[in-house]
Symmetry: C2
Subunit: 120 residues, 2 copies
DNA sequence: ACACTATTCAACCGCAAGGTTGACAAGCCG
DNA sequence: CGGCTTGTCAACCTTGCGGTTGAATAGTGT
């Protein structure tokens, strides 16, 4: 499995957890230390530290060092990778949607809708 | 936890698996049945069926029915949601990056780089 | 009604993820 | 040094996920 794929694996998996998405949301406003971040959650500081590590391994976040503190800050690069992946298939899905629409409009003049899918 | 959050949870989690991303990639080209999809993978048809179900629960995919077949087809809507979420934080991360850049350029004339992060 | 095809359900297994607690490491500061 | 703060490591527990196999279901066609 190529490197790009594994980066996407880690990035998507990292953001699948709502706590980690929330961390990202906070870090978007400002850098913060693990301790500061942990105050906002009903879980141990160690748990938050683990979450931050996951974000770090996914390349979504980097650490620096100033005195004893190790502030976490958001890194945009991998977001770019994900964004491009998603956009690609979003566009293709929409494109095929439009083509189907056009096809239905052509062949039958009075179709109701083509959205009679059974979404569970 | 609100509905939007849970939809994002499911969507990101669904795409965290490389097999499911590959399914999405295939479905972007054309609709397909579970059986057709399964031919491309080294795993049981039931496993693929499960993967498709996960994509379905995440709202990334819908099913229809024609004869005995139940073709799977890509749905763009949730991609939109994810795309917007990611873009938002990507932009914020880049924005803060630029501001930091400007700040460093202002205060010290000869900084080397501010990317001395320890990415593991 | 029957057999055939396509797909799902159910039970199970192994393993990794997210959480806990307790001990440890690294930098500051009196 | 001794102690405080900050963060990580290690061991453990429980739950959920991805995979398997075998049986059940649903729709087609003869």
């Amino acid at each position: 499995m190529d490197e790009r794929t594994e980066r996407l694996n880690r990035a998507f998996a990292a953001l699948a957890d709502p706590t980690r998405r929330d961390l990202v949301a906070r870090l978007a406003c400002d850098d913060a230390t693990v301790g500061e971040l942990a105050e906002h959650y009903d879980m141990s500081l160690q748990a938050v530290s683990k979450h931050v590590k996951v974000l770090g391994d996914a390349g979504l976040v980097t650490r620096s060092r100033e005195a004893q503190r190790r502030p976490v800050h958001l890194d945009a690069d991998v977001f770019d990778l994900m964004s491009k992946w998603i956009e690609r298939y979003r566009r293709q899905a929409e494109e095929r949607y439009r083509r189907l629409d056009a096809l239905l409009a052509e062949t039958s003049g009075d179709h109701e809708q083509h959205t009679e899918t059974e979404a569970s």
